[in-house]
Amino acid sequence: MLLHPDPMSSISSSIHAHDARRAPTVLFHSPVYPPAPNPAAASSLPSFRLRVTSPKEFHPISALYFCEECDAIRCARTVTCEVSCYYCPNCLFEVPGASVRAQRNRCARNCFLCPCCTNTLLVHPTDPPSSLANLPLPSLTAPQASQGEPPYYLSCPVCRWDSRSALGLDFEKPTGLGAAFTKRDEDGGVAGAQFEQLKDALEGFLKAGTPAASGAAAAAPHGSRVTQAAYAALSRGSAIGHGASALGGRHAAQAKEDLEGFRPLHPSHAPAGPGAMSDKERVEWVRNLGAGEGEGALLDFESVASVGSRMQNSWVGSLRARDLQPTRIPLRTKLTKRCSTCRHILIKPDPKAQSTKFKIKLTASMYLPSLTVSPSPHPAFARLTPAGELRAGRTYAFELALANPLYDPIGVKLEVVRVARADGEAEDWDWGRGLEVRMGKGAREKVQVGAFAEVWDLEEDEEDEYLLDLAEGAVEGGSTAAAARRKRRAAREGSTVGVLEAKGNVTRLGFEVDVGRELAGQEAAFPLLVTYTYREDTASAPPSPTAPAPTSKPSAAAGADESDDTLKEFAFLTLVQLGAVAGREQSGGDTGSQRGSMRIASGSGAPGGPGAPGDRSSVDSSVGRAALRKERGVSVMF
């Protein structure tokens, strides 16, 4: 069975999956209600993009789109969707739009879901009679022998439910089974008949009420027709109360006949529909659920239909699980997605159900540098708990890989910010609290990330060395001595902060994190504001030259090979999730963490593992969170 993931469920599940995953991840921010395109605001620094209203606004970059018109990230919530094709996920039949409604958005062919386990049902033939076993070999090996014979029935390969033993349902033909179910769904069975009767009754009531209103208009104090109708209804009501029918006359009598005398087709005390039970029977049936099994028999409530399957019907259905009917498989859709602000098409799929191609696909990963975080293998730092959690009060080293999807080098500036929301009553989140992140000086300035190149364009080490130098801004007329280069590389060995490696279109940065003790039992995450500068080049398509200009900067950015092209800046907020921090009781029972905590108590504020902490304490210790907040005002309290 080929199941295309439902667009919405894939998005939401990806969000939740990232919540639960232990591995460090970077999520990108996309506001639910994007600010209206406002040229005045867009021309200033992009702090307006930092309005975070919910933790759910962060997505993995694979779930994001990029609108060139608005020059903004769009997520599954900020696109509008149009159905380009309906299809059955089981048989991949493309359902024409005209029959979608009549078939209630479900497959009308042979595709059914098991009523018990919601797996796909198979059509099984009846086994040939056993006397066939006595037949000579040629007839046993004949193709007919393995085909079985009618009648056919539906069976579940997972939970062994089958329509013959459960419902006594079998079919003469193996195909077109959905037609019978479709017919039943169309007229709606008991519920449908009752609904139509109610509709007719109310219609008659309304029709009778309206002329009554015109007849009673003289007596009605109000003029508008709505109040007239209401007055008619009211006068009829008062006729009941006072036993007088002076108002309304024939029409009131008509209305009374239409609605007051309403007798439902299927009243609640007369059970109707398959497997219906009266209320007394229901009580007795539930009461005796485990009666024959002896005291404390290990039962499940599988003999009772699940709440979820029962509540799909608007009619009081059977309580018994064995009365449940198979359901036809719901159709899926392929969606054309547009930016909800500017109507620009972001995703246009190939309308064939079998195809997985896209005609238009503007995903964020084509425009934004992707960020990947992984724990550093450096031995001098604390290790994770066996459960893969961080330990509070330790220092960890991570590597951040920046990958550039553009065909030009970009300069990336990273700023650790703090996003918090203190006024929320239900949810209180405060990212960055308890974490001290040291990125190195280079990150606050420009980190150069090389241009994306196709694999066959990549050169060998020479290129890498050049890029590495480029990344550190150390290209001085291209006359760097090889010895000096080696020396620098040696100095970098063992370093965990700053640019570690620049290769191809990927630059790896190291950073260190002090996990505060107050984070025990919580998630360690900090927001990171990423600003990247790209060269606006009309020859290379992304990002769009027509975008409302972010800040255009003079081409004085550090280290970039300048040209006449203008440099543009784009900023976005990310959330770097480092993983869960072990709870107090876990770390308390762990001898390693006790040793760690003693070291912290005696140390000089630079806790760490068994390595020499001296070099780290000297590295950029002033770039603490508080300092960041104070000096640059990037901390935004939301």
Partner: protein
Amino acid sequence: MSGYTSLQPSTPLRPSSSSTSAAASRSAGPPPATPAHQSTSLLLRGSGPSPAYTTTRRHSLYGTETRVVLDLGSRIWKVGFSGESEPRAVLVKEGLWDLSGVRDEVGIVDGLREVYIGHLQTDPKQRKVILLENPLLPTPVKSAIARALFQNLHVPSLSFAPSPLLSLLAAGRTTGLVIDVGHLETTVLGIASTRPLFPLLLNTPLAGQALTTRLRALIIAHGTYLPPPSLNVGASAPLPTRVPRDVLTPSWLEEAKGRVLFVEPSDAPPLPSESSLSDLLSDLPEEGPPPDLPYTEETDQQLLTALASRYAPNSATPALAIRLPASGRGGHVILPGWIRERAAELFFASTGDVDAPSIPETVLHALAKMPMDLRRPMVDNLLVVGGTVDLPGFVPRLRTEILRLLSSSSPTTSSSPSSAAAPPSSTPPYQRSKFARLAPLAKWLNVLNDSDPPAPAPDGEEDAGGLPGGKKRRRLGRPERDERARAPGWAGGMWAWVGGSLTGALKTTAAEVLRERYEEALLSSPPSFSVPAPPAPLSSAPPPSSAPAPSSPTPDHPPQEPMDVNPASAEEADKLRSQREEEREAWGCVAAAAVLPDWTRGKGAEGGGWVVAVR
């Protein structure tokens, strides 16, 4: 449905082409498809869909008049198209809001997008929406839903319809008392001739969630946990223990509640020594919960012990061992039979708590608040709806309990049928209990959707002697059983949705908020940036909500903060600007919320009240 679409080209009133001017289409209106509707639709020329809406219509699978009916409960969402007898999807959506306000606004957006994209699979921009609302739905929640529908999904218009009225219409009545036992609370609302009597609404927190809490407490106190067998060879079977708190997941509790609980037809016979639960409670030694724990039902050992001693001895219901989900710790929980039959007693047992009166008490209080002449039509047309009602035996038991309260509050009626005719005023006031005035109503008591209605009473009781109005009264008096009004057997939680689908199919209307109007209200902002708080609504009505929504509609900064910031640097100035933009937007949201109808304050369309009007 084809009768309601305006797609027939042969209809003479239909504008011949889409280029017809807006004025022309407004004067012609949506053409009636059948002659039967001609007179009614002519009444409605002005209030049809906007010309832009009809002329820019694209290919659509459904008739243009088919609406989307959303019944967004605090736990279960029912969604579908009008004119259909069953909703297209029923979803469990928990934790998005509660009675204090919105808890997860983004979740509301996600849920509605899932509804439209995943389940309805239709373009939200083409379809008007009927949104069913409980009368006590907090305004911030309503505002958040409207914001998601208008600003994210761009629906053309939104009609708010009070769900009790729609439930009543689904029963084929226009007058009656609707008892809605939902998830967070039970509301009792009288409706007279399609007019909901909002000022007389009463509610009690005893509803589905209270039952879940009680069930959890009872299982932890009186259930038994069987750990899963160990896989080690030779290990003995694990011993049964008390139920650990962490094995009972909310979803498991909901399943257990819906699958193995039921309601006994009558209260347990009193124990020899104690007469009622409250007596039993008072007799127990005062233990109280441990001081370090906040009060919950789980810590109330006194209550849990009292329940067990009251109900366990008389129970003949077999215990069940129910498997716990394997995703957790697994194993089984043994559920004593008396819990299965008596967990729902909290709905009917009077505890004397004025904040949480039992459901029968709430019903009688609501009846007592009714005007005299409405009490009888109300008590003759009780309708019990809501998801919790689907517990087997709930409705008959509720009727029994209401009758018991009525008869116990008037001792004369219970003694003999003949003295029932005596006017209640003959009893001295100090002897009458609070419901004594209502006691004569007992013989008219009729639950419309009673699944087990009582047998007809003997004719002698029918004679309501002593009442003024003699013969006419008798003619209008309690009818025979067969003549009594009955309602269809819709499932408990579906009444309101079916009613919404009916009104959508009949094109009756509630107050309709157009998107243009909403956006106008959103854009209207204070003249200068210097008025960040408190926002004032557009109309002269009181502010829509006194409780600020915890999410974005309120400014995220205290209002004085921008004054403290010295815009020295460009970044700070920019921050200030963005913050003021936020305030501006927040103000707009509140202003937009003022556009939404507010039933409890009489701010609905046409100056209050929801009226059935023919479209």
